[in-house]
Amino acid sequence: MKFKGVLVFLLLLLIVLTVNYSQQPINLRVAWWGSQTRHNQTLEVIKLFEKRYPNIKITPEYTSWSDYWTKLNTQAAAGNLPDVIQHDYQYITEWVNRGLLLPLDDFVKDNVINLKDVATNYIKPGIVNSRLYGINLGVNALGLVYDPELFKQAGFPLPKNDWTWEEFKNTVIQIKKKLCIYGVEGFTGQIECFKIWLIENGEWLYSQDGKSIGFSKDTFVKWWKMMLDIENAGAAPDVTVDVSRTGLGVEDQFIVKKKSAMSLAWSNQLIAISKAAGRPLKMVLFPRLDKKSKSGTYLKASMFFSIYSRTRYPKEAAMFIDFFTNNLDAHKIMKAERGVPISSRVQTFLKPYIEASQKEAFAFVRLAEKEGSPTPPPDIPKHAEISNNVIAPIWEQIRYKKIGLEEAYDTLKKEAEKILNR
């Protein structure tokens, strides 16, 4: 008798559990990378979303940028990806080609994801193979942050948005001579700066078919001559300084400590840098080849939200992305931390809530849109490997003066093309 009793009890337990299970709320996993500020803000937005849709529960998965892709790739291999994935311009094409992401066109058509207030320019970066795979979370532009105070001290006019490389070079070297501080930091070894130089010269890192290097020796040598002139004059941190200072936070940047007049930064970083510096900083476009040509500064989608192709809840995932794009309260929390919001309605709404440095960042993005260059194509899948194993090591050799510029170009071309054609 006792045995039967136990059996009945177990059966009942099973039924209760099953019923309970089927009533469980929908569970969405959302993954992103970022700083602590972003983690806190995003978690708050998630709370807001859960309040609005009580039947949906969200499990956040967040890390720093470097751990993020290791984790995602492992999850992808295990077939266990989160439902909503923060994605990057650099990797999205590769992921689409592997069938890991869900096309979002139908959700946009059915208005689950409302993009009515969004300019097509802001939607375009998320389109791969003529279908939409990522919703742009904010717009950024790369430029130079400068400290007006230091320019005044040096007796220089503030940099103008139509300045040329010649003027740029003279300015940083003169600042070094007058104030004994760096003219610019974080600039000379940056591949992103070189990309902008290439855009201005009408070239690109790779050829159209992605089988060879797309820039000429002449463009390469001219760029490096200028960079080395700046470094040799002491107007930018020496390579040994840059290498021994990797991984430092915003508050350690030279511009924050008044040891550099300018610094390279994405527009959304201006907010953090100004905050650390505790004084108003401004942004200026990249220099141009001459007064008639355009600046190479371009708009970039800071990041996307994409949906895993095998998600169990595609519609709910899309609803989350829509909430992130359009909800005004959510944006009041995030304050354009991921870049200028793509919805014009949100942009107007945010105006009274943002601080001076954010206004400057917004204005800079508008300026880049008007006077800058069109957005270049996304990096080809092999770019990461080439950049890590060929470009970066050779650039280091150039800066340590272990290799001549002509030879550097030849080696770079040879080694990169070997990888491209593998």
Binding site: N73, V243, Q397, K402
Partner: protein, 302 residues
């Protein structure tokens, strides 16, 4: 021959009790070993299925990859300098701690062991990075106390960067020190007494008694530390990231970069297997030479 029921159940029980080890060995050592050997002949980027490409990875590694040789060079340099330095340091400290049996010595033993407990950890690496950083402690002392005018970029200068890591390795002498200390305690006191009666000085005692009797322990430490030295990773990963000019690009770090930054798992597997071969060969050579200098007490000679 059939085993009796009891004997059989005895054997089963035996296997049952060591099953955690067997399962661990099969799942976490043997399987990855075989799998990575097979993967080394494939192109595998984690996301798609592995594709067989024959010896391509191996060919690329030996004939096309400059950085592979940079990594090999950096690792060898590290092993050649860090291991002897660490052993020497550990030996000296063990000698000093062996001098007296005072209570305080026991405390010191524990204290000196702490760096190697926390040594492989991220926290110490971060601290090291601060100490040798541009505005770190070392430069502060150089400038403000020794009156040096210029800052030295310890981590940015190709001449110095690897030495900061070797110094860190030296500082983590705790575990070989403990083993040395245990070995020193095994040496009979009578030998020293007899030697000092015969008029042998301190150095003579060290070279004629301590070192020969300690040689099996030295050998054990040498082998373990050499193997550990080849696998050094955390320090370079956190402190230098392989820079400058690949002078601190340790082999394990490069394998990691290939695997988890470039997602070139096949290539990383080939590299890992080559390291296994190198370590095996080096260990074999050490064992061969050990016959010449390792002294086992009479009757135990192998």
């Amino acid at each position: 021959m059939r085993l009796s029921k009891k004997k059989r159940s005895n054997i089963l029980a035996g296997y049952f009790f060591i099953s955690p080890w067997i399962i661990g060995f099969l799942a976490f050592i043997l399987f990855p070993l075989v799998a990575s050997f097979l993967l080394s002949f494939t192109k595998y980027d984690v996301l798609s299925t592995p594709k067989f490409i024959g010896f391509d990875n191996w060919y690329r590694m030996f004939f096309e990859d400059r950085r592979f040789y940079n990594a090999l060079r950096a690792t060898l340099k590290y092993v050649v300098f860090a291991v002897p330095f660490r052993l020497l340091f550990a030996f000296i400290v063990a000698l000093v701690l062996n001098l007296s049996e005072h209570k305080i010595i026991r405390l010191y033993r524990a204290i000196y062991y702490v760096p190697s407990l926390v040594g492989g950890s991220v926290a110490v690496a971060v601290m090291w990075k601060q100490i040798f950083g541009m505005d770190g402690l070392v430069n502060y002392i150089l400038q403000n106390i020794l009156g040096y005018s210029e800052k030295i970029m310890w981590l940015g200068d190709p001449r110095f960067a690897i030495w900061t890591l070797i110094l860190l390795a030296m500082w983590q002498f705790g575990s070989p020190m403990l083993i040395f200390l245990a070995g020193l305690k095994q040496i009979p006191v009578e030998l020293y007494e007899a030697a000092s009666i015969d008029g042998a000085g301190f150095w003579r005692q060290i070279f004629k008694i301590t070192l020969p009797l300690l040689s099996p322990v030295i050998f054990f430490n040498l082998v373990m530390q050499t193997i550990g030295g080849f696998m050094v990773f955390t320090q370079a990963y956190i402190i230098t990231g392989g820079a400058p000019l690949d002078t601190t690009l340790f082999y394990a770090l490069y394998v990691y970069q290939k695997a988890f930054r470039d997602y070139d798992m096949g290539y990383a597997s080939a590299m890992a297997w080559f390291l296994l071969v190198v370590v095996a060969v080096v260990t074999f050579i050490l064992f061969k030479t050990s016959k010449k200098w390792v002294y086992y007490e009479a009757g135990e000679v192998k």
